[in-house]
């Protein structure tokens, strides 16, 4: 069992806090969905959790131990990071990008070993993108790039996976594919924290939801209890109905229906 615990975290740039008093925890096998409007500080929060920005207060702990003072390599073996897929500057192959996920497991000046290559291959396989391995990262589609970055993070063999809006700028099919991988990754015993600005995605894949608004947590709990019309009104400033649907196979799902004429 692994556990990422963020306690009373204050974060921001150059000593100026954009968020404070943020506390939550994620455990193995669990998906925590971080909801919030664009520009609401989700990326800044993640950068602080990952140690890319110094925390202005509070702690980030993995399995009860604060990560402050850990080496980059030790952090990378605990926390895998999936950034938003960007266009990529260098024409590395997909396989090479995934192999970079092994960086934290290499010795001082070692090159990747057979075992590192095997981990990269099996990660590609588990995500169903082995056929992309030899293609240039700069030439595959947006959805394929995002899958490559998920594979890279999984090749780190982390205990916690941090994903920053992995579905942003993806088409509908790729959004669904990425979300199904998010669930599957949690099923393998990794603690997953994923940010999104789409509450329906939280209904689709989250065990728990944290709502980040105005630099602090405006809600934390089960998707049903947390994603309410009142809270969506407060966070996004629009009127939304949250409805429960019964599917043909008997499953009951929730979804958000915005009302455009009251927006």
């Amino acid at each position: 069992m692994s556990r990422l615990e963020v306690s009373a975290l204050a974060y921001g740039y150059d000593g100026r806090a954009v968020g404070r008093d943020v506390s939550f925890a994620v455990e193995s096998g669990e998906v925590l969905c971080l909801l919030g409007p664009n520009g609401g500080g989700k990326t800044t929060l993640f950068k602080t959790v990952l140690g890319l920005l110094p925390a202005l207060g509070g702690t980030v702990a993995v399995d009860g131990e604060s990560v402050a003072g850990w080496s980059r390599a030790r952090v990378a073996r605990a926390l895998g990071y999936v950034p938003q897929a960007q266009l990529g500057l260098f024409p590395f192959t997909v396989r090479e990008i995934v192999l970079m996920g092994r960086t934290a497991h290499l010795g001082a000046f070692a090159t990747p070993s057979r075992r590192d290559e095997a981990v990269a291959e099996s990660t590609l396989e588990s995500l169903g993108i082995t056929h992309l391995a030899a293609r240039a990262y700069t030439e595959v589609s947006g959805g394929e790039r995002q899958m490559t970055l998920v594979a890279r993070a999984l090749a780190q063999e982390p205990r916690v996976l941090v994903m920053d809006e992995p579905t942003a700028s993806l088409d509908f099919g790729n959004q669904v594919r990425v979300l199904s991988r998010v669930r599957a990754v949690a099923g393998e015993g990794i603690a997953v924290i994923v940010s999104t600005h789409d509450p329906d995605q939280a209904f689709a894949c989250a065990d728990r939801v944290a709502v980040l608004h105005g630099g602090t947590l405006a809600g934390l709990g089960s998707p049903e209890a947390t994603i309410t019309p009142q809270r969506l009104r407060a966070v996004y400033g629009v009127d939304v109905d949250v409805v429960t649907l019964t599917l043909a196979d008997g499953r009951r799902v929730r979804t958000c229906v915005p009302s455009l004429d009251r927006a």
């Binding site: 990952l50 890319l52 080496s71 980059r72 990071y81 950034p83 960086t103 934290a104 890279r152």
Partner: protein, 221 residues
């Protein structure tokens, strides 16, 4: 070529090469720190490094005497301990050229490092690379052309240094007389032919250096 001319030329090249090496050792880490770190005294370090660019070289030279001369802040204890002083040796010419060239390297290299996308460094960090390794393997290679252009400029500056060198190293023929000082002496004593040869050599060398620096700078942009 007269022996004096040859001495001046070989000394100038030696001084410029050593000053450029010293610049690389001190200036590249300094440029990285100024570009990437926020530390106490950062503004002061920036000011001190840049000052030789705007002060008259004789003023910089005067400060160097105050610091390194036989009765200087650092020079006096050194003289007391070893009976040796750096002033009026050719090492002094290297020190003067290094200090005078440093702002050119640091400013150019810093601009090149500033233009490296920090997300590339962050990617290295999230994959587990230390800041030190990331600087060596990601940042500095991407800033390579700007850094090289800065080193070329520093070399040119070191080669042409006059004022601070005269103050700290003096103008001792065969020992501290670099090409710029030899030109001054030649003109003073009416050896126009010698002056012309030295002037032509420095001009050609400087033109070559400028072209190289521009090429590197253009590739960096």
């Amino acid at each position: 070529m007269s022996p004096e001319t040859f001495d001046a030329l070989s000394l100038s090249v030696r001084v410029a090469v050593l000053a450029t090496l010293a610049n690389a050792l001190v200036g590249i880490p300094l440029a990285y720190l100024l570009a990437r770190r926020r530390f106490r005294g950062r503004g002061l370090v920036d000011l001190l490094v840049t000052l030789p660019l705007v002060l008259p070289p004789t003023v910089t030279g005067y400060y160097l005497i105050v610091l390194l001369g036989r009765r200087g802040w650092l020079g006096a204890p050194l003289y007391a301990a070893t009976g040796w002083s750096i002033a009026f040796t050719w090492y002094a010419a290297v020190v003067a050229a290094t200090i005078m060239a440093l702002p050119l390297l640091v400013r150019t290299a810093r601009a090149a490092i500033d233009s490296v996308d920090r997300d590339l460094e962050r990617a290295a960090y999230t994959l587990g690379r230390s800041e030190w390794r990331t600087a060596l393997e990601v940042t500095l290679p991407l800033a390579r052309n700007g850094i090289l252009a800065g080193l070329v400029l520093a070399f040119a500056r070191a080669l042409g240094e006059f004022g601070a060198t005269l103050m700290l190293a003096g103008n001792i023929p065969g020992r501290t007389t670099t090409v710029p000082l030899a030109i001054y002496s030649a003109v003073q004593t009416g050896e126009d032919q010698t002056a012309l040869v030295l002037v032509a050599m420095l001009t050609v060398l400087s033109c070559v250096v400028l072209v190289v620096a521009n090429r590197l700078g253009a590739r960096a942009a």
